[in-house]
Amino acid sequence: MNKATQYILFVIVLVALSILSITIGSSELSAIDILSGKISYESTEWTIIRHLRLPRTLTTIGIGALLSLSGCIMQGLFRNPLVEPYTMGLSGGAVLGVAVTFCLGLQISFGIPALIISALLGGLLTMFVVLTIRRAIKCDINSMLLIGIMISFATSSITTLLMSLTTHENLSQIISWSIGSMDSASEEMAIFIVASALVATFASAFLGNIINALSLGATEAQHIGINSQKMIIILFVVATLMAAVSVAAVGVVAFVGMIIPHIIRRIAGHDHRYILPLAAMGGSSFMLLCDIAARTIIYPRELPSGVITGICGCIMFIYLTSRQRNEHN
């Protein structure tokens, strides 16, 4: 399958799942009515689409793209399919940042921007700690994964400590935010997430050459003219920002950043200039699928999408790893 066909297929799947996501819910909407413009702007259906379904669908698309791009960049840098924002401790740092915001009640005064800024600060601070430890102990880039896992445990412990010390009200807010559910997606958040995902997709495609070079290893990349140390930090910051924005919106959604880039590489190769946009579309489609499943499996109740991505991701990862091992054998 050539590159153009792959792009077209990914776009078709993404659009189809988006329409399905908009139509599914407690009040069923017809895809044909939506596409043919039969729904008037004054109708209840339009209100549902405008204020509930569209923000949720757009947020889901954006979150999937951001997580998948972040994971794809990190896996390219580390040459390790186990790397994703979650295993590197960046999501944990962002969660800690948001948990602090909830405990201090800053979200009441400053709203969504407080969550976004605290997640970014938490993620960036974690990244800074990981890079500082790496520099202090002079380890190679692969050992950074171990540092990331350790930092992840540390941030998780501190978050738990905060949750055990805070009020019941704050605790329930932190829990309902952190489980990776899309049902609270607001219009403002949806616009912010989609805009971030679009910028991230285009920007990361332009960084593809650099990621390709660094996927040879930092030393070999240096030999072909890449300032490896500087570029690793820049890409790490970019990947952290993507993960932090996603955490700020819906909490922790695990496995998307790990499993989707892994699948995309198997389908479309290793040229990051080409696979990053595919990873973004793949991540969005996977998230939409998981969110649709979360809404329908125990209907009329809903599951958090993060639960579905975690279970699906885990099963898919075990399947792919065993298949890869069989192919090698």
């Binding site: 050459n209 030999h223 290793h270």
Partner: protein, 263 residues
């Protein structure tokens, strides 16, 4: 003005000095062999030339320009390095070789130019692996990966090509193929080869630097520097010369000869 000119180079890791006061020079057409025992500083010298380790003293000039005055990208346009090991990733050989064009194109380009594609195809033909272009590195042998790495350095169109143990772990047929390739390449660039195999470099090098414990024992014409006396001093074991005919000679550690006779 030499293509490469190293003057009184001292390199170390922290306080530990690995090579001290090394000088050498070479031009296009030269094949310079760097030989010495394990830990004598051969690979460190190569790392200093490519910029992997910082020099503590001395200077490295490329075409008369001090290495301090050039960026990583500019250095990559002049010097390329064939690594001892190439990471066996799932990347296709064609894409891997294309990476060698990185110093000459925008870091943010989304496509490969026709010129880049032509240069890559030419390099794949030169090293004889055009038929492997669409194969993943992980699916190829060590020898094929070494050839892919050489092709990648060729598309960098360097004036100086550094090779760290270019024939290590290869069978004889692959060794001969690579040595012949190096002879061809030397017509358009200056090669600097680090090797443990003294006989291999005798067959190909016209200049040699013999290192002993981080010091330069001698540098100059390969015939005059690669001698049993210098090698005995560098490797701290008795080395003898065996003349095959008027033009061909091999070096052998006497201890190994003795073992062979006893066996």
């Amino acid at each position: 003005m030499n293509t490469i000119d190293i003057q009184s180079l001292t390199v170390g890791y922290g306080k530990q000095i690995v090579i001290r006061d090394i000088s050498l020079s070479g031009n296009i057409g030269d094949i310079i062999a760097i030989i010495g025992a394990n830990g004598s500083g051969k690979s460190t010298l190569l790392k200093a030339i490519i910029g992997d380790v910082k020099q503590q003293n001395g200077n490295i000039f490329f075409n008369g320009i001090n290495s301090y005055d050039i960026t990583t990208r500019q250095r990559a346009q002049i010097v390329a390095c064939v690594e001892q090991e190439t990471y066996a990733s799932q990347m296709h050989i064609y894409d891997y070789v294309m990476m060698g064009r990185t110093p000459f194109r925008s870091l943010f380009s989304l496509t490969d130019s026709d010129d880049d594609r032509r240069i890559v195809s030419q390099a794949l033909d030169t090293v004889g692996i055009a038929h492997l272009a669409n194969k993943a590195l992980a699916e190829t042998s060590g020898g094929e990966r070494r050839l892919a790495c050489i092709a990648k350095t060729l598309v960098q169109q360097p004036q100086i090509l550094l090779l760290d143990e270019p024939t290590a772990n290869l069978d004889w047929a692959n060794k001969v193929a690579i040595i012949n390739l190096l002879r061809t390449l030397a017509q358009s660039m200056c090669l600097v080869i680090v090797s443990h195999d003294v006989n291999e470099v005798i067959s190909v090098a016209n200049k040699a630097l013999v290192l002993a414990e981080g010091h330069s024992l001698c540098f100059g014409d390969a015939h005059k520097t690669i001698t049993p006396e210098n090698l005995s001093q560098a490797y701290k074991t008795d080395i003898c010369e065996i003349n095959i005919d008027k033009e061909s000679r091999i070096m052998m550690a006497k201890g190994l000869l003795k073992l062979k006779i006893e066996n």
